[in-house]
Symmetry: C5
Subunit: 332 residues, 5 copies
Amino acid sequence: MDSHEMMIEVMEYNEETVKTYEVPVDNMEGIKALSNIPEGIVRWINIDSAHTPELIHAIGSAFQIHPLVIENLDNDIQRAKIEAYSGFLHMVLKMIYLTDESLVIEHLNMILGEHYMLTIGNSEGDVFSETRKHILTKGSAVRKGGADYLFYMLFDAVVDGYFAVLERIDDQIDDLEEEIMLETSQEHLFEIRRIKKLLLKLNKHIWPLRDAASMMKHEGFNLISYGVEPYIRDVYNHVIQALDSVETYRELLSGLVDIHLSNSSNRLNEIMRVLTVISTIFIPLTFIAGVYGMNFKYMPELSMPLGYFVTWGVMLVIAAGMLILFKRKGWF
Amino acid sequence: MDSHEMMIEVMEYNEETVKTYEVPVDNMEGIKALSNIPEGIVRWINIDSAHTPELIHAIGSAFQIHPLVIENLDNDIQRAKIEAYSGFLHMVLKMIYLTDESLVIEHLNMILGEHYMLTIGNSEGDVFSETRKHILTKGSAVRKGGADYLFYMLFDAVVDGYFAVLERIDDQIDDLEEEIMLETSQEHLFEIRRIKKLLLKLNKHIWPLRDAASMMKHEGFNLISYGVEPYIRDVYNHVIQALDSVETYRELLSGLVDIHLSNSSNRLNEIMRVLTVISTIFIPLTFIAGVYGMNFKYMPELSMPLGYFVTWGVMLVIAAGMLILFKRKGWF
Amino acid sequence: MDSHEMMIEVMEYNEETVKTYEVPVDNMEGIKALSNIPEGIVRWINIDSAHTPELIHAIGSAFQIHPLVIENLDNDIQRAKIEAYSGFLHMVLKMIYLTDESLVIEHLNMILGEHYMLTIGNSEGDVFSETRKHILTKGSAVRKGGADYLFYMLFDAVVDGYFAVLERIDDQIDDLEEEIMLETSQEHLFEIRRIKKLLLKLNKHIWPLRDAASMMKHEGFNLISYGVEPYIRDVYNHVIQALDSVETYRELLSGLVDIHLSNSSNRLNEIMRVLTVISTIFIPLTFIAGVYGMNFKYMPELSMPLGYFVTWGVMLVIAAGMLILFKRKGWF
Amino acid sequence: MDSHEMMIEVMEYNEETVKTYEVPVDNMEGIKALSNIPEGIVRWINIDSAHTPELIHAIGSAFQIHPLVIENLDNDIQRAKIEAYSGFLHMVLKMIYLTDESLVIEHLNMILGEHYMLTIGNSEGDVFSETRKHILTKGSAVRKGGADYLFYMLFDAVVDGYFAVLERIDDQIDDLEEEIMLETSQEHLFEIRRIKKLLLKLNKHIWPLRDAASMMKHEGFNLISYGVEPYIRDVYNHVIQALDSVETYRELLSGLVDIHLSNSSNRLNEIMRVLTVISTIFIPLTFIAGVYGMNFKYMPELSMPLGYFVTWGVMLVIAAGMLILFKRKGWF
Amino acid sequence: MDSHEMMIEVMEYNEETVKTYEVPVDNMEGIKALSNIPEGIVRWINIDSAHTPELIHAIGSAFQIHPLVIENLDNDIQRAKIEAYSGFLHMVLKMIYLTDESLVIEHLNMILGEHYMLTIGNSEGDVFSETRKHILTKGSAVRKGGADYLFYMLFDAVVDGYFAVLERIDDQIDDLEEEIMLETSQEHLFEIRRIKKLLLKLNKHIWPLRDAASMMKHEGFNLISYGVEPYIRDVYNHVIQALDSVETYRELLSGLVDIHLSNSSNRLNEIMRVLTVISTIFIPLTFIAGVYGMNFKYMPELSMPLGYFVTWGVMLVIAAGMLILFKRKGWF
């Protein structure tokens, strides 16, 4: 196990100072001390995939987290939500990003106390590098704000990540649309399905956030100060926008299914048109040839000197007539 | 009738002690005594499929249950719901599990009083073995809580059972999807329908739970203490999650119908392509052969020394031309 | 006109006594007297299809019914609803039952006053025979209750009737499903349409009841006593359940359309497969036969001693090759 | 311009008296005097298509109508709505009727003041002849009521007009259904589209009325007295019913599209079945004939005395076999 | 850079006077002075695409705009919305117009203060020329009103712009419908998709306005005076109407897809009908000709004097029979 994984990352700051340090995950005394926050300081404690049940319980009892929250911290099939408890807010979020082939979803717990922010993820990476930079920059808004402003910045960073995913999907739909307009292939339907599944997953994880953000917007939890509320409303608007996009992409995809099916049926029409044109021209001619291939003893035409040429003439007239008819019907 | 069926199962406990015993279903005095609960004790009375109308009425009058509730206890087509009466809460739930072929649904009545919990099912089995273990474990949360915490545990156990069912369905949809992508068969449509019916049933039984749980979450019945409310909210979130999954699976299934239909139409295209290629190549050639099979007395080509070979040449040129044309159209 | 049609049916009861009698529809004095109800008595006045405008107005003025209600009593295209007026509740309901071929819908007006219940239908029959039995049974709940309990019983009887209809529809859908899986017929589509129309009608008549029942549940009209409210909630749950079933059946039906269409397209595939297999085997062979049926003077193969047999050999090889190819494609 | 178009129609009444007269549209003094209403009188001023901007402004300033309302009176693309202003209610409605081919929609403004009713339309005709008769009838409800009751009557007359339209559409759908079941024609699809467009328009114009009527029902504007409220609720119910019907008709139409498509695909199946049966029977037989039409010098069968008859026999056996096979498959 | 781009456009007015001038974007002192508004004056400051971050911050600090609003002014992927801050309202809107091929969407920020109106766009053009004319006209409503009335006029001008776009789309759908009814082409499907995408975009941008307008309508922000509220409700009604139209157009388009698919399938039917009629007539005849082309030594018919003519007769009878059959089936 590398050292990074064994450490809890701590940033603490106020307008003047900022301090970054790490606490080993097995230093129970150090962990306990984290809940003891000096006056006027905001402390952000970030725990990544290294957390053990012991660590979780130590943190939980140090910060007086409700047992139900502690129990669920490791449960990554939890739905996104926000719940108010006495003394803290518990938010569950999904960090989402797209690799070459599939959607990666990481579970994130955010606990906002009066002077601290706890983030507990289930993987090593996160989307908070920009936030860290802001904290380290003297005079930035986050340095002037409280833990609730930090909460907003982290929440916003996660939601911004969704838009990167949505843009990738947008590109993929555009590419697919161009291909579908050019040629018909069963592969396209599988691609439509793959993207549709992506969108279903995105929707599943972003949708509950809408309720959560709406709750924050309307109920105004007392841990979120009046000054931070407009920021939360802003994140709420982003969440709605992400959901709008998901909905739009789903409509675009279902339109592509129509085009695919119509292409396929057009293709069948074309094939049948070729068969019909060729068959209906040659079948009557072959019949005529068959007639004069009969071996009846008495067939007057056979002995006519021009019989053969007249037959050819009749055949050509029939063929030409058919061609004109099909031309008029627009069949070729 | 075996002895199990003739007994009412009783567990009573507080933080220090726990006692498990059975009361025969025909011991009316014993049943009446059950409503007489010592101070500080939580009593859980579990009645399974063995209940008779007499037993139900004895229990009902002992615990002063509303006549409407008593009347409906045996009515297993009741919808899931929660209703508050003076002195008790009545919840109707469905326990759901999946056997090899079909969905088994068991009807369950839960009655929560101030110091007791009544569970009345319509079958021998239940999903409460874990709960029983927790009650028997000294120091567990349930032993420290009241009847409302026991209510939560039982409710949670039922809802957890839904996820097992949903996982099975998830696997079945994945399997089906793979098969559908490989080959086209009318069987697939029947399988889609079978799963869709499962999902309709699941939805039918879980959906009303959403209203019930939402009511509990928002109205805060006075029998559910403030400390237990976060747990109820948690179960509510699970119910919502189960419904989300049902919805997602339904969308996935309807996408599979599209793929099935498109496969079927692709197959028709392929069949017609073969017919068209073979027919349009050979029909003109057969016509030419027919022409020189005519018996006209005067057909100059017939007596040409190379007539036969020239005819073959023309035929080959026509066939090759057709093949090149079809190749260009991507028909084979 | 038979005597039954000329009579108003009256039942009046309290816990101890019950009395049943009839009042001729043209006895205006008797009708006026009906509104004069002795202390402690509940009076149920049931008027069936025989009502004339005069009768309606006499009843209306006797019971001080609002003119709008009186005006609409005969208007059977009214939507189901409940409206509170000062001194009485007016409910409009549809009694629904299924005959062999179609859905019969009967319009019913229910007017609940403090001590009376007025029911005015537009046909001779009704679904209240069970209710009459209960009233005649000493000690039954209805005898102990007030007019509001009678209102509940009548409302419940009507709603219970819906489930009988829904069960019949369930059976019909099951039968249809089995038939559709066995064979394809345009008749099935007409049958689907017939059942869908039934469901549309059912929905149309039950849906407004949902609003009405919900209003009763939430607003608690003052004519419905606190003790009767749980019963009304129970009927409300039944209404919701009926609507759930209608919705489920509609989804099942629309799935059947998919199966029907897929069957039809499968059938076309099968037909085309047969045509293609037969055609693509024999068309090349016929061409070969045609070639050696040509009358060119110089065709070396014709004079070869084994020419004929070699030709047969070639033909068999081609046919076998084609068959193997089609077998591999799974075309037969 | 005929005299009718140059006149404003005025009816004024109370329980005892009624007076009908006309005011020329250019008599500005007379128009101004209209707002001066004697005690205890209800005055209905009806202006049809003849209104000029001057007239509108004269009326507006006489009755102290809000400038926004005056400005919009001529704007017939306004949505149906009701708005409360101080001193008057402004309702926008659409009168709808169906001619042979299309839906006619007329824009109507209704302004309800304490003692007057202003109706301003954009055409000569209206649906108020019944209302006029009621006003002229001594003892009718409208004569006893205030301006709000007149408002109800006019509103009700407009909504009743919708049902006449819906009935016509119902007939047209029934006719179309019968035709579609009998034969397949592209015309049917155009007819479905025509009716669907009608329904879209109806929905567009009736839907906003639902909000308006619901607002009246729930908010109880103070210009509408307590006694008139049940009547308004009644109109609200009619509006809901009209919308229900529109919804039902749309579902019926979309079911007809399914039947049309299925018919068309059935027809293709039938065509292909004929082609396949004929082709697969004769193609092998033609091949056999072709074989014995070959000119090989040594073909033993040709010299057999019964060769020809045996060949016929073989052909008949093959044809019969095919027929039996197709019969079994149910292809004819 | 031309002079226009370097200027901030300012209009200030009251009932008596109006003044129009420009402030260079780099005149920081002048910009600061803008927030200093004389008693009784309404000032409209319009900034177009020329704005730099410095300008934005100067304006922001002069008018004490919330930092979040300043930060987002340039962010043109913001959703339409209205937000109340202490001292000002912030509205985000999209100006939409249609060029030959695509929808142009311009982002617009509107900030309403007590005595000023700030509009900040991201392009040179706008839709406010009518509004400017009104301001310059003495005695116009806007000159009598406050900044809130100006806010209404600008908002209304933007929403009116949507209807021009919708009318164009309406025309395009009508044209497309006519074409689709005349002939089948894959191009139509692409055109349907193009318009559908337009509508999706329109919906995306208008929909949030509905929430915004509804909020204004219901909450009554204190910066919008009682007298202006009816005007805001009017704009709200226009927004709803625009959304209704979008919805209607989407339904019309999806109906066009049905017609396109049905046309395509009709066309296939027609093609197959021709193939089937020609094939089934000539295939049996060709078989007969084949039979008498066989070279059996003993074929009695061949030596019959009338054999050839009888054969022709049989062939004609068969052909006529087939034609009659197909005629009856309505196949040509």
